[in-house]
């Protein structure tokens, strides 16, 4: 009795959760043990990585004078494909919609992307699964992806595209292919991909008829010959080795390089792939710009950056670091209505919560976006959703202009690394801009 009383008086250590074996990690171990399959999900990397948030603009001062907001002009027009294409693409804004497939997305969602992009004066992009009529019909400028699977690929659609994007990799899974699970293979999706309904459809990780940069050059020649040298040819790479991949894409004859960092989304792949392969967008972009500069091709071959772009500030920072265009995918889906809190009850019924829903491959999207279920699809009004997307794109453009004017630039492309500083040593090293409050760029000397 005496001992028990004494023991109760001894202060107890607060139960300590392991950082290594966190609740989240333990839950994944239990899930893997129960199911025998790795976790598949949509979206991009969710881990915190150095990003554009770690950069700041300096703004104007005595040595730099600003432009008047709402009065003095700050242009946003972009021309893509000036290197070889007879018909370059002209965009009103430096923001495009990234490639997302019909199959992973519903028909109304693809239509909404086209409507929104067109209203905002920019382009949208097909995906792995071919070009749909609603997408072509509602997209003033449509980029047609040329993917390893070649699902739905045909010369007629090549010719009615406004540009062709040869997809080598994507940021969520550089080196990986894709898998559209059987749940989303409706009659229409199956027909477009020439595969039986209900089976898992594997998208190859590399092209079936070329390997390496020398072959790519010949493949691009073929595509140009088929399309009369009219279309800009983009080459999309994942954030693996951006300096060398950009160099090789340019060598192969690309008009435009599309670079996708690890925050870039995917319809579905292994979580281990998304979180552990590839580099952050911020780390990739300066490497690609350097490659272009070393080749004397910066601004001659245009650079599109994607992977975690969310705001006009992100766009402005990407342009300041040397990109010509920033591209949005996940953010565009959110603008359409994905992961919206008003659907919280339905997300909870699926075992998740608004903002975290990423089981896009299961085809149960309450917002009617990442699904082929007719009842769910019908929830998305493509006109209203397209309007929301256009609003969002215009807001981002206004934000980028606001920043550009504050830095004294009459075109958003005149933003430059000199306008930036970094909040962290890591971001300073990656972006090649000084750590805030110093002139120190890690790896380059300075104070």
């Amino acid at each position: 009795m005496k001992d028990e009383k004494k023991a109760a008086q001894i202060p107890q250590t607060t139960p300590r959760q392991s950082w290594t074996f966190s609740n989240e990690m333990n839950s994944e171990i239990r899930r893997a043990a129960a199911t025998g399959i790795y976790d598949i999900r949509g979206g991009g990397s969710k881990r915190k990585v150095p990003h554009f948030d770690d950069l700041l603009f300096l703004g104007a001062s005595i040595s730099r004078y600003p432009l008047e907001g709402y009065r003095e002009r700050c242009d946003t027009k972009v021309v893509l494909g000036t290197r070889f294409a007879k018909k370059p693409i002209e965009l009103d804004i430096p923001i495009t919609i990234a490639g997302m497939s019909f199959g992973s997305l519903s028909g109304p969602a693809k239509e909404a992307l086209g409507r929104g992009a067109t209203l905002a004066g920019t382009s949208t992009t097909t995906g792995d699964g071919g070009m749909t009529e609603e997408e072509r019909g509602h997209s003033n400028k449509l980029v047609y992806q040329y993917l390893p699977s070649r699902y739905g690929m045909n010369p007629d659609d090549l010719r009615r595209a406004d540009a062709i994007e040869v997809v080598v990799g994507q940021g969520a899974k550089p080196g990986g292919g894709g898998m559209l699970l059987g749940q989303k293979i409706s009659d229409r999706v199956a027909k477009m991909r020439n595969l039986p309904k209900g089976i898992d459809q594997r998208s190859a990780c590399r092209h079936p008829d070329w390997t390496g940069p020398d072959d790519l050059e010949i493949k691009i020649l073929e595509l140009r010959e088929i399309t009369n040298w009219e279309k800009p040819i983009y080459v999309k790479i994942g954030g693996a080795r951006p300096y060398y991949d950009t160099t090789l894409a340019v060598k192969a004859g690309a008009d435009v390089v599309v670079l996708d960092g690890m925050q870039g989304g995917t319809a579905a792949t292994q979580d281990v792939f998304i979180e552990h392969v590839g580099q952050p967008t911020l780390a990739c972009l300066p490497q690609a710009v350097k490659a272009l500069q070393d080749l004397g091709m910066h601004r001659k071959v245009q650079l599109i950056i994607s992977g975690g772009i969310r705001s006009g500030a992100d766009v402005a920072k990407a342009l300041a670091l040397g990109a010509d265009v920033a591209s949005v995918g996940t953010a565009a889906l959110i603008a359409l209505g994905d992961n919206d809190p008003h659907l919280e009850d339905e997300y909870r019924a699926l075992g998740t919560t608004a903002g975290a829903y990423d089981d896009w491959h299961e085809g149960k999207c309450p917002a009617g976006i990442t699904t082929q279920d007719p009842e769910l699809m019908a929830r998305l009004d493509p006109m209203a959703a397209g309007r929301r997307l256009a609003n969002y794109l215009k807001v981002m453009t206004l934000e980028a202009q606001t920043i550009a004017r504050a830095c004294g630039k009459n075109h958003v492309h005149n933003l430059e690394p000199e306008d930036l500083c970094a909040l962290t040593i890591e971001a300073a090293a990656m972006a090649g801009v000084p750590l805030t409050g110093t002139s120190w760029i890690p790896g380059r000397g300075g104070f």
Binding site: P155, N194, P208, D209, W210, K219, I226
Partner: protein
């Protein structure tokens, strides 16, 4: 007969001229002299014309062909008739890698041998090879028919979907989920028709049929070792 000499005119001029031919053209016969291994010869054609290439070609000859008949009087480099939609492509000699890759329709006839990955990811094209084919042929082939009078290399039909493979000679090895299947009357009829169209010196009864076991159509962890 219209003759186009690639030693005197450019590839761009050649393809632009062929693309300009409409369905109603009366200039239906074209001859291309001195191809000298040029890449992308006669790509993207879309008219019922006959093009004879007098020599060997580089990559992607007759790529994405529609309607046209293209005859290569030599050997063809990688990706001949890739993504063909319709029409006929005949290679008198051998074909390099990826012959008929991702083809959606039409008939590809190779009178010599075909290298590796013949018919990779084919999506409805018919391919007849008089000789042998290399390894990994018909990888992830979705639909269509591949007829081989000679032997097949390693990993034939790996991760096959619904394409039908007919081989007269030996098969070095089958790829994941590819098995020998019963030759039923409807398959003999398909073979008979393809042999007739391609002029192949063979009889349907001489072939064995291979196809998908369909075990890998939906992922299951217990099949992981098959990949």
């Amino acid at each position: 007969m219209q003759t186009f000499d690639l030693s005197k005119s450019s590839l761009r001029e050649l393809n632009a001229t062929l693309h300009a031919q409409k369905a109603s053209t009366n200039q239906t016969a074209w001859e291309i002299a001195n191809p000298r291994g040029h890449h992308a010869i006669a790509v993207g054609l879309d008219a019922p014309i006959e093009v004879t290439v007098k020599g060997s070609t580089g990559y992607y000859c007759a790529g994405m062909n529609k309607q046209a008949t293209v005859v290569v009087k030599g050997s063809a480099g990688p990706g001949v008739a890739e993504n063909m939609m319709s029409g006929t492509v005949i290679v008198e000699g051998d074909a390099s890698q990826y012959a008929g890759a991702t083809g959606n329709g039409g008939l590809l006839v190779i009178k010599g041998n075909a290298s590796s990955r013949c018919g990779i990811s084919m999506k409805g094209i018919d391919i007849v090879v008089y000789g042998n084919i290399g390894h990994m042929s018909a990888f992830m082939a979705q639909s269509g028919n591949l007829v081989v009078l000679g032997d097949a290399g390693d990993a034939l039909g790996d991760s096959l979907y619904e394409a039908r493979l007919f081989v007269r000679g030996s098969v070095k090895s089958l790829g994941a989920d590819c098995i020998e299947k019963e030759m039923r009357p409807e398959h003999l009829e398909i073979l008979r028709e393809l042999i007739e169209r391609s002029g192949a010196p063979a009889r349907p009864e001489e072939f064995k049929r291979y196809g998908s076991a369909r075990r890998l159509y939906n992922f299951h962890i217990d099949n992981a070792s098959a990949y």
